[in-house]
Symmetry: C2
Subunit: 65 residues, 2 copies
Amino acid sequence: MNNRIRELRQQKGWSQADLATLLKVSRQTVNALERGRYDPSLPLAFNVARLFDLTIEDVFQPDQE
Amino acid sequence: MNNRIRELRQQKGWSQADLATLLKVSRQTVNALERGRYDPSLPLAFNVARLFDLTIEDVFQPDQE
DNA sequence: GCCATGTGTAAAGCAAACTTTACATATGCG
DNA sequence: CGCATATGTAAAGTTTGCTTTACACATGGC
Protein backbone atom coordinates (compact mmCIF):
# COMPACT_ATOMS: atom_id res chain seq x y z
CA MET A 1 0.00 0.00 0.00
CA ASN A 2 1.54 3.28 -1.15
CA ASN A 3 0.52 6.65 0.22
CA ARG A 4 1.12 10.34 -0.35
CA ILE A 5 1.41 11.33 3.31
CA ARG A 6 4.93 12.72 3.10
CA GLU A 7 4.15 14.77 0.03
CA LEU A 8 0.94 16.14 1.53
CA ARG A 9 2.61 16.88 4.85
CA GLN A 10 5.45 18.78 3.20
CA GLN A 11 3.02 20.81 1.12
CA LYS A 12 1.61 22.03 4.41
CA GLY A 13 5.07 22.78 5.81
CA TRP A 14 4.54 20.45 8.74
CA SER A 15 7.10 18.29 10.52
CA GLN A 16 6.32 14.64 11.26
CA ALA A 17 5.80 15.70 14.86
CA ASP A 18 3.30 18.36 13.81
CA LEU A 19 1.32 15.85 11.79
CA ALA A 20 1.47 13.31 14.60
CA THR A 21 -0.06 15.84 16.97
CA LEU A 22 -2.84 16.67 14.55
CA LEU A 23 -3.58 12.97 14.03
CA LYS A 24 -3.19 12.12 17.72
CA VAL A 25 -0.66 9.41 17.05
CA SER A 26 3.04 9.16 17.86
CA ARG A 27 5.70 10.67 15.65
CA GLN A 28 7.06 7.17 15.09
CA THR A 29 3.73 6.15 13.65
CA VAL A 30 3.80 9.01 11.15
CA ASN A 31 7.36 8.09 10.22
CA ALA A 32 6.44 4.43 9.78
CA LEU A 33 3.45 5.28 7.59
CA GLU A 34 5.47 7.63 5.39
CA ARG A 35 8.18 5.03 5.02
CA GLY A 36 5.66 2.30 4.22
CA ARG A 37 6.60 0.12 7.19
CA TYR A 38 2.92 -0.70 7.75
CA ASP A 39 -0.55 0.45 6.77
CA PRO A 40 -2.67 2.63 9.01
CA SER A 41 -5.84 1.34 10.63
CA LEU A 42 -8.99 2.32 8.76
CA PRO A 43 -9.95 4.99 11.33
CA LEU A 44 -6.49 6.53 11.08
CA ALA A 45 -6.68 6.45 7.29
CA PHE A 46 -9.95 8.38 7.53
CA ASN A 47 -8.32 10.93 9.85
CA VAL A 48 -5.42 11.42 7.45
CA ALA A 49 -7.73 11.89 4.47
CA ARG A 50 -9.97 14.31 6.30
CA LEU A 51 -7.05 16.35 7.54
CA PHE A 52 -5.93 16.96 3.98
CA ASP A 53 -9.49 17.28 2.74
CA LEU A 54 -9.10 14.32 0.39
CA THR A 55 -10.66 10.89 0.00
CA ILE A 56 -8.94 7.76 1.23
CA GLU A 57 -8.51 6.75 -2.38
CA ASP A 58 -6.69 10.04 -3.02
CA VAL A 59 -4.19 9.43 -0.25
CA PHE A 60 -3.70 5.65 -0.31
CA GLN A 61 -3.09 3.44 -3.32
CA PRO A 62 -3.33 -0.32 -2.75
CA ASP A 63 -0.65 -2.39 -4.43
CA GLN A 64 -1.87 -3.67 -7.77
CA GLU A 65 -2.46 -7.43 -7.46
CA MET B 1 -17.08 2.94 12.38
CA ASN B 2 -20.34 1.93 10.69
CA ASN B 3 -20.45 0.05 7.41
CA ARG B 4 -22.94 -1.16 4.82
CA ILE B 5 -21.40 -4.59 4.30
CA ARG B 6 -24.45 -6.59 5.33
CA GLU B 7 -26.76 -4.53 3.17
CA LEU B 8 -24.46 -4.76 0.16
CA ARG B 9 -23.91 -8.47 0.64
CA GLN B 10 -27.63 -9.18 0.83
CA GLN B 11 -28.27 -7.15 -2.30
CA LYS B 12 -25.98 -9.60 -4.06
CA GLY B 13 -27.73 -12.60 -2.52
CA TRP B 14 -24.52 -13.83 -0.91
CA SER B 15 -24.07 -15.64 2.38
CA GLN B 16 -21.41 -14.49 4.82
CA ALA B 17 -19.41 -17.53 3.75
CA ASP B 18 -19.70 -16.53 0.08
CA LEU B 19 -18.44 -13.05 0.82
CA ALA B 20 -15.64 -14.40 2.99
CA THR B 21 -14.46 -16.55 0.10
CA LEU B 22 -14.50 -13.62 -2.31
CA LEU B 23 -12.57 -11.47 0.16
CA LYS B 24 -10.22 -14.29 1.13
CA VAL B 25 -10.96 -13.92 4.83
CA SER B 26 -12.74 -16.20 7.27
CA ARG B 27 -16.51 -16.24 7.68
CA GLN B 28 -16.02 -15.09 11.28
CA THR B 29 -14.24 -12.01 10.02
CA VAL B 30 -17.16 -11.10 7.75
CA ASN B 31 -19.56 -11.66 10.62
CA ALA B 32 -17.48 -9.51 12.97
CA LEU B 33 -17.27 -6.69 10.43
CA GLU B 34 -21.00 -6.74 9.75
CA ARG B 35 -21.72 -6.73 13.45
CA GLY B 36 -19.27 -3.89 14.07
CA ARG B 37 -17.06 -5.88 16.42
CA TYR B 38 -13.99 -4.32 14.86
CA ASP B 39 -12.87 -2.37 11.83
CA PRO B 40 -11.19 -4.00 8.84
CA SER B 41 -7.58 -3.34 8.02
CA LEU B 42 -7.12 -0.73 5.29
CA PRO B 43 -6.24 -3.33 2.64
CA LEU B 44 -9.34 -5.34 3.50
CA ALA B 45 -11.47 -2.17 3.37
CA PHE B 46 -10.13 -1.56 -0.14
CA ASN B 47 -11.01 -5.14 -1.14
CA VAL B 48 -14.55 -4.77 0.18
CA ALA B 49 -15.06 -1.48 -1.65
CA ARG B 50 -13.67 -2.81 -4.91
CA LEU B 51 -15.79 -5.94 -4.73
CA PHE B 52 -18.93 -3.83 -4.62
CA ASP B 53 -17.54 -1.30 -7.06
CA LEU B 54 -17.78 1.50 -4.50
CA THR B 55 -15.38 3.83 -2.73
CA ILE B 56 -14.26 3.22 0.82
CA GLU B 57 -16.24 6.29 1.81
CA ASP B 58 -19.35 4.72 0.29
CA VAL B 59 -19.02 1.57 2.34
CA PHE B 60 -17.57 2.81 5.65
CA GLN B 61 -18.73 5.77 7.71
CA PRO B 62 -16.46 6.83 10.56
CA ASP B 63 -18.18 7.71 13.79
CA GLN B 64 -18.74 11.43 13.96
CA GLU B 65 -16.42 12.85 16.61
C1' DG C 1 -38.18 -35.79 12.56
C1' DC C 2 -34.00 -35.26 10.11
C1' DC C 3 -30.75 -32.79 7.54
C1' DA C 4 -28.67 -28.75 5.15
C1' DT C 5 -27.74 -24.00 5.27
C1' DG C 6 -27.03 -19.57 7.44
C1' DT C 7 -25.78 -16.95 11.34
C1' DG C 8 -23.81 -15.86 16.07
C1' DT C 9 -20.25 -16.61 19.32
C1' DA C 10 -16.23 -18.27 22.18
C1' DA C 11 -11.37 -19.54 23.06
C1' DA C 12 -6.66 -19.72 21.80
C1' DG C 13 -3.10 -18.14 19.01
C1' DC C 14 -0.54 -15.37 15.55
C1' DA C 15 0.32 -11.05 13.13
C1' DA C 16 -0.20 -6.22 12.43
C1' DA C 17 -0.81 -1.52 14.32
C1' DC C 18 0.57 1.54 17.68
C1' DT C 19 2.91 3.21 22.10
C1' DT C 20 6.87 4.76 25.06
C1' DT C 21 11.65 5.32 25.73
C1' DA C 22 15.84 5.91 23.89
C1' DC C 23 19.61 6.83 20.88
C1' DA C 24 21.89 8.22 16.34
C1' DT C 25 22.56 11.32 12.58
C1' DA C 26 21.98 15.47 9.79
C1' DT C 27 21.23 20.31 9.00
C1' DG C 28 21.10 25.07 10.13
C1' DC C 29 21.97 28.96 13.08
C1' DG C 30 23.85 31.79 16.92
C1' DC D 1 31.74 25.12 18.32
C1' DG D 2 27.32 24.41 20.77
C1' DC D 3 22.49 23.98 20.46
C1' DA D 4 17.85 23.27 18.46
C1' DT D 5 15.04 20.97 15.16
C1' DA D 6 13.91 17.18 11.98
C1' DT D 7 14.28 12.53 10.79
C1' DG D 8 15.39 7.45 11.16
C1' DT D 9 15.49 3.43 13.92
C1' DA D 10 15.37 -0.17 17.69
C1' DA D 11 13.44 -2.79 21.54
C1' DA D 12 9.71 -4.03 24.42
C1' DG D 13 5.02 -3.90 25.38
C1' DT D 14 -0.22 -3.46 24.57
C1' DT D 15 -4.17 -3.62 21.57
C1' DT D 16 -6.54 -4.81 17.43
C1' DG D 17 -7.36 -7.66 13.32
C1' DC D 18 -7.74 -12.14 11.74
C1' DT D 19 -7.37 -17.41 11.85
C1' DT D 20 -8.82 -22.13 13.17
C1' DT D 21 -11.76 -25.09 15.66
C1' DA D 22 -15.79 -25.73 17.75
C1' DC D 23 -20.49 -25.42 19.26
C1' DA D 24 -25.33 -23.35 19.54
C1' DC D 25 -29.52 -21.94 17.44
C1' DA D 26 -32.92 -20.88 13.76
C1' DT D 27 -35.20 -21.79 9.40
C1' DG D 28 -36.74 -24.42 5.57
C1' DG D 29 -37.23 -28.61 2.78
C1' DC D 30 -37.56 -33.56 2.48
